[in-house]
């Protein structure tokens, strides 16, 4: 598909129409999962483990069941006892046995906060009172909290059936190492021999949470006929349907999932936690609807953080600044069950550069922490923190400007990654050039304890399955049904692509996010895919609609369809013309309503690259790092709605700054999470951040009709590395552990050589 290469001819794309869901959102009328109220509804609560690692000896729920107002109590015994099997759910893979055991522990609890039972009662207070009446006898086991200790021989084993997978070869003995992966190219020893400068460093990053503001919630109504409806906060309704079907072993056709508005997900709302509980509680309580909502402590203790990690990077460059070799070891926390994003981290770590001699090795390791979930460019931020810090140090040893060093080694079309695959058209070098020419980079930074850092980042992006359908209204507006949950304004970015193709204003499109019975299969809003893939479905739908409307115009004008043309919203045949709106008014005269639909699974998504510049000031007394100025440069393909693209970048940077400076899971020696509120788990607020400037580099993606590239994930990749490099310029110490909190900065200053 050729990209339309005359952006100035776009009438809708690149503009800033009013957001379709804006009024509902700013007036508080938008309906979120916690807003659900159904007749006869019960309220659920979940009992959670006080231990990080323990065997469940016995569980007695009889007293809870007797409490007045309690209608159902469930434990893992109410779930099917599933065999281990990997299930493909769109982009993600789920072992349904582990998924089930994560939702309710069966024989062992594997992290502090692991759910063990759930109750439905007439009020939340009664449900919580009932939790206190459930007697659980545990045999406490030693927790394993560190990946390197978890890998040691003799370390306590979390999962008795776990064997190391090495690309299809299974180990023979129980282990905490779920996977061992390796990519290599060239001759690494030769590469290091050719190097004049070699930098080798070890890095540690801590587990962090996605920090979505809206906690998980789910309401289920099970019917005696086996049909169940689920209202929930999710990034993908179809994924919820599949997971619930797999875990409860009920047909997907019996499940309808209604996605509510979502108050953030960032990858953490792809997997299910509460939905199967709500469904089973509803069934067991005599088919009354049951609502479950988490509080913040449950969100932090038991829902998807992303991996902490240990990473070692060694890179060498010759006297001219050419990278001659790059080697990395990445060990990622999977949490309680396998599935860390170490594979993605391996793919990110050297992605921006031309590496002729490289080795990347990765381990996926289970520890007694919550099962990790995707988090915005999963695994990428950890990896870039390590590699981009080493890149900065190499540039320093070479006496080169860090951007010039990256320009010299930056990957471009045709270059191969360490895993062997070759890039198509990418815009990494363009981000470097734009960063070099930016007002920020050209403005000198002065003042004591200030420093400027630069770092780059990569993310794969994704396509996936999407569907859309449209119907034409008599007033010339178009109703658009789509299955992508709206995160970040995708209703509008999709409506704009439809409007552009149909030649109508974006305001004339009425986008609706539909439930699983009302639209074709659509993967979740993740992988930076929605504006790309669902946008493509919308584009194909519009083309189908145009063909159908040409037939109607032909009927009106009594000509053959091939005599009708369409351009910029106007149908023509000879000297006769009808605008889209005028034709819509005449549909009743030509055969009645017109609808169109399309389902796609497009390839052609292009990876995203970014280069960030940050100025910091460090207080050497307290260790506090103040962000003075931040500029994020990103190849965004074609920006459909530039303000939203900027917002995506700013949001990613804000999260990256939090990850860099403050956020971390703090555990005591017994593996109990210490910071289970947002007072203690310190995410950045507006006062912590300056205006985050953005530079959108538009290298149109040739694999999309409108040149779209995913934009949501790559902006979280460079911030910690950029900030670490800035801190080095400010105070002369290399920070190798995240977060770079005041205490760690002071400690680093104390040990400064």
């Amino acid at each position: 598909m050729a990209t339309l290469d005359k952006p100035s001819e776009y009438k809708v794309i690149g503009t800033s129409p009013l957001r379709h869901d804006g009024v509902d959102k700013v007036t508080g009328r938008a309906a979120y999962g916690a807003d659900i109220r159904l007749p006869g509804m019960l309220y659920g609560a979940v009992l959670r483990s006080p231990h990080a690692h323990a065997r469940i000896i016995s569980m007695d729920t009889s007293e809870a069941e007797k409490l007045h107002g309690v209608h159902a109590v469930i434990t893992a015994k109410d779930f099917p006892d599933l065999e281990s099997r990997i299930v493909e759910l769109g982009e993600g893979l789920v072992n349904r046995k582990y998924q089930s055991n994560n939702i309710l522990a069966r024989d062992k609890v594997l992290y502090f906060g692991h759910a063990v039972a759930a109750v439905a009662a007439t009020s939340l207070h009664i449900a919580k009172e009932a939790l206190d009446l459930i007697r659980v006898e545990y045999e406490a086991l030693d927790p394993v909290m560190d990946v390197r200790k978890a890998m040691e021989a003799g370390s306590p084993i979390l999962l008795d059936d776990l064997r190391t997978d090495e690309f299809g070869k299974k180990g023979e003995t129980p282990t905490n190492i779920a996977g061992h992966y390796k990519d290599a190219c060239g001759d690494i020893e030769k590469g290091f021999k050719e190097a004049k400068f070699i930098v080798e460093r070890e890095f540690v990053t801590k587990m962090v949470h996605q920090g979505y503001i809206e906690p998980q919630n789910a309401t289920a109504q099970y019917n005696p006929d086996g049909q169940v409806a689920i209202w929930c906060s999710t990034q993908g309704a179809f994924g919820v349907r599949e997971q619930v079907a797999e875990i409860l072993e009920i047909p997907i056709s019996n499940i309808r999932v209604i996605p509510m508005e979502i108050g953030g997900g960032f990858g953490g709302k792809i997997g299910v936690y509460l939905e199967p509980l709500a469904a089973l509680l509803s069934r067991k309580s005599g088919y009354r609807p049951v609502k479950l909502t988490m509080d913040r402590s449950e969100v932090l203790a038991a829902t998807g953080p992303t991996s902490g990690s240990y990473i070692k990077v060694k890179m060498g460059a010759d006297a001219n600044g050419k990278i001659t070799a790059a080697e990395a070891l990445l060990i990622y926390e999977a949490g309680a069950y396998p599935g860390s994003p170490v594979g993605a981290g391996m793919g990110v770590i050297f992605a921006p550069y031309r590496i002729e001699n490289g080795v990347i090795e990765g381990y996926d390791v289970v520890v007694n922490k919550p099962r990790t979930a995707a988090y915005r460019a999963p695994g990428g931020t950890n990896a870039a923190f390590a590699a981009e810090t080493v890149m900065d140090e190499l540039a320093e040893k070479l006496g080169m400007d860090p951007i010039e060093f990256r320009l010299l080694n930056g990957a471009q079309e045709g270059d191969r990654r360490v895993d062997g695959s070759a890039y198509k058209r990418i815009g990494y070098l363009e981000t470097l050039e734009a960063a070099k020419e930016s007002a920020h980079y050209k403005t000198p930074l002065s003042g004591p304890h200030t420093g400027r850092g630069v770092a780059s980042g990569f993310w794969f992006n994704y396509g996936g399955k999407s569907s859309a359908s449209v119907s034409v209204n008599k007033d010339g507006t178009v109703s658009l049904l789509e299955g992508s949950v709206d995160i970040g304004g995708t209703r509008t970015s999709l409506a704009m692509q439809l409007a552009e193709t149909l030649g109508i204003p974006a305001e004339d499109v009425r986008p609706v996010v539909a439930d699983t019975d009302s639209i074709g299969y659509t993967e979740g809003t993740y992988g930076s895919r929605t504006t790309f893939a669902t946008g493509w479905a919308v584009y194909e739908t519009a083309r189908d609609l145009i063909e159908k409307l040409k037939e109607r115009a032909a009927i009106l004008w009594e000509v053959e369809k091939d005599k009708v043309t369409f351009e910029s919203g106007v149908f023509s045949s000879g000297d006769k013309t009808l605008t889209f709106k005028e034709l819509a008014e005449k549909l009743d005269e030509t055969g009645g309503p017109v609808v169109a639909s399309a389902a796609v699974q497009p390839k052609g998504y292009g990876p995203g690259f970014a280069t960030h510049i940050v100025d910091v000031e460090v207080d050497p007394e307290t260790g506090k790092v103040q962000i003075l100025r931040y500029t994020a440069v990103q190849d965004v393909g074609k920006a459909i709605y530039p303000v939203y693209v900027e917002s995506q970048i700013q949001g990613g940077v804000a999260q990256g700054i939090g990850w860099a400076l403050n956020e971390e899971y703090l555990y005591d020696e017994q593996g109990r999470l210490l910071n289970t509120s947002l007072l203690d788990y310190r995410m950045p607020v507006a006062l912590d951040l300056p205006m985050i400037d953005t530079i959108l580099v538009e290298v149109a993606n040739p694999g999309h009709p409108y040149g779209v590239r995913g934009v949501g994930e790559v902006p979280i990749v460079p911030p910690p590395a950029a900030i670490a490099n800035a801190i080095y310029r400010a105070i002369g110490v290399r920070m190798t552990e995240l977060p770079m909190s005041p205490a760690r900065v002071v400690e680093a200053l104390i040990h400064k050589p």
Binding site: L93, D165, F167, F266, G268, G343, A344, A373, G527
Partner: protein, 91 residues
């Protein structure tokens, strides 16, 4: 009939089975045929890539830099490049 000759990149952990070869040109017009050709030359390699008649669920097939949804059924051309990589997910 002339067969196409795509290039199959061998995942690093499987190169112990290919005598260290990082890529192999095979005669195949689909991913399924490519794996059959690999198996004929390097016995046992199919089991590392496949479970039964399917690619292992934690392995993604990339053809010419794009993830293949058709996997075993994906058609290959003369210049096709096939990579097998660990499946990843985005947030």
């Amino acid at each position: 009939m002339t067969k196409t000759m795509p290039t199959i990149f061998i995942p690093t952990p499987l190169r112990e089975m290919t005598g260290g070869k990082a890529s192999v040109v095979v005669s195949a017009s689909s991913v399924r045929e490519a794996i059959q050709s690999l198996e004929a030359e390097f016995p046992g390699i199919r089991d590392r890539l496949c479970e039964g008649n399917h690619i292992r669920p934690n392995i993604s097939v990339f053809v010419d830099g794009q993830v293949s949804h058709l996997k075993m059924r994906e058609k290959l051309s003369e210049k096709s490049e096939v990579h097998f990589v660990i499946a990843i997910s985005g947030g």
